[in-house]
């Protein structure tokens, strides 16, 4: 059924009994949906706008001002209903399981919002250090926590996201090699199964990206690595466990090889949740790493951000960290500029509200909680994989596994899963697995929820092509035609009204 006019009424639900599963026994999910005049929730501007004559209203001379400003003009109750309805058309972790591989969508404790809301923390970045000792101490203690957790000697909290952390790492590698008179190092090696940000970050840093194939087991191919390493190598960027959930067993040898070639070993922290309290990047020979605090340390993902991507380094690289950093002196905490700092990667010092939540999460869990997080995240991934029929070609995996949808289209499988009350896995990546379903349930799900997830996989697996292609039906919107949206880009309500 497509978007023809006669189908403008609600589509026939797959749960009306026609697929034989609406006996009340199958968990499913009906998302809220508001419809008016044949469309869903209207846009802000469609609810009413007003135009202000700015020349008239502002005290400035006309040549400095715009003529008019037209914006939505809603009463507070109208505005609150608008956003409440929008929120009801969003699936979040608090709605149900969200096993998006490599994103570590774990439950975000409520109390961390309360510590971020403390008005005593609402200070301006240009305040004198002596007047914000509390803020600086939180940052200092967080640097210390992260250093211990990653086995790193020094930490910067400035990078505002994981990719920004990667960028700091690459800039540090560049500064370090330049400092040593080795500016011929113009290549960064990245395994083919790595996160897309690794490639993009290395390119942004001006490096040639050398892509490293995996071995038959899904790990770094040591022979290929040997061939790729040279006096041109600036760094190897590695995720461990990798995106297949596999621990790079040869990590010590990899570190030796990279170091012997004069390169640095970079750790992408996206999958650190699997290792908390069990293995540390610093002990494996990594020289520089980033932490995705919105993954590993449960700060909310906020519909795409903000996150934070602190970077840890070994002693030798500490002088290159972004400025300023926080240190403790006899009369308190102060900011200082590392000797060979790469400078700023953010206008001020990053995403404070995220960092204070990170601090609170780590302080709440402590050693035992962090160790349990890695235990249960790995337990959950392994249990879930044992309960589904889809093949999982690579193992042993840790906090995530990549199943293959086989002859089915993984994207369709994901759409179908939406109707069963769960968020689907990451799809079609990494490409080493055919029709990949990259699944990371995290430690926060219990067995009952994992069984619900497994059932959703199962129902999708049992669905015929027609059912898969017409899914989802119970979500706020039906299947969206993304190809035509991209072919005719309309990116604002102004673009809509021009039509």
């Amino acid at each position: 059924m497509t978007g023809s006019n006669e189908s403008r009424g609600e589509r026939v639900s797959a749960f009306d009994g026609s697929d034989g599963c609406d006996d009340g026994q199958v968990a499913h999910y009906d998302q809220a949906r508001f419809v008016q005049n044949g469309e869903y929730e209207p846009l802000l501007n469609e609810k009413g706008t007003a135009a202000v004559d700015v020349n008239e209203a502002s005290p400035l001379p006309d040549e400095l001002t715009r003529d008019t400003l037209e914006l939505p003009s809603l009463s507070e109750p109208e505005l609150v209903r608008h956003y409440t309805r929008l929120s009801q058309m969003i699936y979040g972790i608090d709605t149900g399981p969200y096993p998006l591989g490599s994103c570590t969508m774990k439950y975000n404790p409520k109390f961390i919002e309360d510590v971020a809301a403390l008005e005593t923390g609402a200070v301006h970045p240009d305040r004198s250090a002596d007047s914000i000792q509390g803020t600086l101490e939180v940052l200092y203690q967080l640097q210390d926590y992260l250093g211990r957790i990653g086995g790193m000697d020094a930490v910067t909290l400035q990078p505002p996201a994981g990719a920004a952390g990667e960028f700091v790492g690459i800039r540090i590698a560049s500064a370090y090699h330049d400092h040593n008179g080795e500016d011929q190092r113009d290549e960064v090696i990245v395994p083919e199964s790595a996160h897309g940000t690794n490639f993009a970050t290395a390119a942004l840093g001006g490096y040639e990206v050398v892509t490293l194939p995996s071995d038959d087991g899904g790990r770094v191919d040591l022979e290929a690595l040997e061939a790729a390493l040279s006096e041109r190598t600036a760094a190897l960027m590695l995720t461990n466990p990798n995106t297949l959930g596999l621990f790079e067993r040869d990590i010590e040898e990899i570190a030796t090889m990279v170091h012997d070639a004069g390169g640095l070993l970079y750790y992408d922290g996206a999958n650190l949740n699997a290792l908390l309290g069990r293995a540390r990047p610093g002990d494996m020979g990594f020289d520089v790493m980033h932490y995705n605090v919105h993954k590993t340390f449960a700060t909310p993902h906020g519909g795409g951000g903000p996150g934070a991507g602190p970077v840890g380094v070994v002693d030798e690289l500490a002088p290159f960290l972004p400025r300023p950093r926080v240190r403790e002196e006899c009369d308190g905490f102060e900011l200082f500029d590392p000797e060979h700092s790469i400078g700023h990667v953010h206008g001020f010092q990053g995403n404070w509200l995220v960092l204070v939540k990170t601090f609170a999460y780590i302080a709440r869990l402590g050693d035992e909680g962090l160790l349990d997080a890695s235990a249960k995240s790995v337990l959950n991934a392994n249990y879930l994989a044992s309960q589904i029929d889809y093949e999982v070609p690579y193992g042993p995996f840790h906090h995530e596994f990549v199943a293959s949808a086989g002859d089915q289209d993984a994207a369709d499988v994901a759409k179908r899963m939406l109707d069963f009350g769960v968020h689907p896995p990451t799809t079609k990546w990494p490409e080493i697995v055919r029709e990949a379903l990259m699944t990371e349930p995290t430690e926060v799900e219990n067995k009952t929820t994992l069984d619900t997830l497994a059932a959703a996989f199962q129902h999708a697996g049992d669905s015929d092509t027609e059912t898969l292609e017409s899914a989802p039906t119970r979500t706020a919107a039906g299947r969206i035609d993304q190809t035509s949206a991209a072919r005719n880009p309309r990116l604002s309500w102004q673009a809509l009204s021009d039509e």
Binding site: T49, Q133, L204, F348, L379, V444, A477
Partner: protein, 445 residues
């Protein structure tokens, strides 16, 4: 929950019985058996971080932050503490907004996509440019992205990026990092009295310039009076005109599109976020012609299977997860939730409220400068021209000593020179401004 839990993460719900059942289903004896970590790199030590109850943790952070001095901040220079209406916190903290992620499954994420589409549209109205993305990290990183955009779309063979000599250090330095991997070099042009020295800029802008960055209001709070002619001279040289501003300023100042701006960057979180130690929201808007080169996420309109309008992330082939090393940027996680808050704040103000907020700051800044100027040994504002919300003050006594004395009386201002302070009215109440004048009077008396 049936059964008991031994200690561990308070957010991992497994009972011991449940764990045992799951291990049995997997076919292993213990959780440790699931880890494939070689002995040589196993961590057998402890971090030495004590676990705490929720109450203890809240007390820990509260006690630490109480060590901050409670000062009335008259601070700006790129980070502003406007009052944020309560509804923004209450709505943005709805857990559907807070606990979802990037909208890879648009059918189940329509609400956030629509909110981001509305945010993009608000920026289109404010800037007059056709395209706005749904966030960069902050103004500094947006400036860096603008430079890499300039490199990709440039018509000239140039490689010079011009920025004002009074640009904030954090912005300049971030820009330097973003262009470090390109052949671009950053140079400054002079400012006088807080605004662009147009004549000198004109002599610097030639075919070797690929991008020129101009701010209004400037770092010193002055509204740039010559944007029109600046835009013309940059345009004549085929360089990219990047204008730095923010949503409050844009509400009343000349529309960037009308002065020839190709890109607008800035901190959009001046609305939506309270003072947050420099955390921001990178505003990024540009011309339609550069659409395929835009960094970051874009929300577009499509149609769903019911034939209804629906929203989706679009043109993702620009992005790192598809295009890898040929992506327009490495950004993935961004500031979406802050963009949501900014849109809510703009919605709460409406056009009248927003224009009024900006207009009142112009008047209040002028009034405050006049009152301070009356004090002995004090000149304010130092710079000519109109100020949006902050201005530089000259003091005969050493500025640092004055700032310290003001701090003892409960006020924080910027020290921007040996004898120069800077004060900002954004977010301050009229009573607080009265108190500040009284304190200033005592300090210089």
């Amino acid at each position: 929950m049936n059964g008991t839990r031994t200690s561990g993460s308070p957010y991992a719900p497994h009972t011991d019985e449940e764990t045992a059942t799951m291990l049995q289903a997997i076919g292993v004896e213990s959780v440790d058996d699931l880890f494939d970590i070689p002995p040589g790199v196993r961590f057998d030590d402890e971090f030495g971080i004590d676990a705490r109850t929720e109450r203890e943790t809240r007390a820990l952070v509260r006690d630490l932050l109480e060590r901050n001095d409670d000062l009335t901040e008259l601070l700006g220079r790129g980070h502003y503490g406007y009052y944020v209406p309560s509804l923004v916190d209450h709505l943005a903290d709805r857990s559907e907004f807070l606990t979802s992620y990037t909208q890879y499954q648009p059918e189940v994420s329509q609400g956030f996509l629509q909110a981001l589409f509305e945010y993009q549209s608000l920026l289109v109205e404010l800037t007059g440019l056709e395209i706005a993305n749904c966030s960069m990290y902050d103004a500094a990183t947006a400036l860096g992205e603008a430079a890499t955009l300039a490199e990709r779309v440039r018509d000239t063979s140039g490689h010079r990026v011009l920025v004002p000599d009074n640009i904030l250090d954090g912005r300049r330095s971030t820009l330097e990092n973003y262009v470090a991997g390109t052949d671009l070099v950053v140079e400054t042009y002079p400012t006088t009295g807080g605004t662009v020295d147009v004549q000198t800029l004109e002599s610097q802008v030639d075919e070797g310039v690929v991008m020129c960055y101009v701010e209004s209001p400037t770092v010193r709070g002055v509204i740039e009076p010559n944007l029109d002619s600046i835009g013309s001279l940059i345009g004549d040289a085929d360089a990219l005109f990047v204008l730095g501003s923010d949503p409050v300023a844009l509400a009343i100042l000349e529309r960037p599109a009308d002065v020839g701006a190709d890109v607008v960057i800035g901190d959009a979180s001046v609305l939506g976020l309270p003072t947050s130690y420099g955390m921001g929201l990178g505003l990024f808007a540009t011309r339609e012609g550069y659409l395929r080169q835009v960094p970051g996420r874009l929300v577009g309109v499509g149609e769903d299977a019911n034939g209804r309008r629906a929203f989706t992330l679009t043109l993702q082939t620009r992005e790192q997860h598809i295009r890898r090393e040929r992506a327009t940027s490495n950004i993935c996680t961004n500031q979406a939730w802050v963009a949501l808050r900014t849109a809510m704040h703009v919605g709460a103000l409406g056009p009248d409220g927003l224009v009024d907020l900006a207009s009142r700051d112009v008047t209040r800044a002028a009034d405050l400068a006049e009152r301070i100027d009356d004090l002995v040994g004090v000149t304010a504002p130092v710079d000519d021209g109109h100020h949006l919300r902050e201005f530089v003050i000259r003091v005969d006594q050493p500025a640092r000593a004055i700032a310290t004395d003001l701090k003892e009386r409960g006020y924080a201002v910027h020290v921007v020179g040996d004898h120069q302070l800077q004060a900002c009215v954004a977010g301050a109440t009229d009573d607080e401004l009265d108190g500040f004048v009284a304190a200033f009077e005592e300090v210089v008396a």
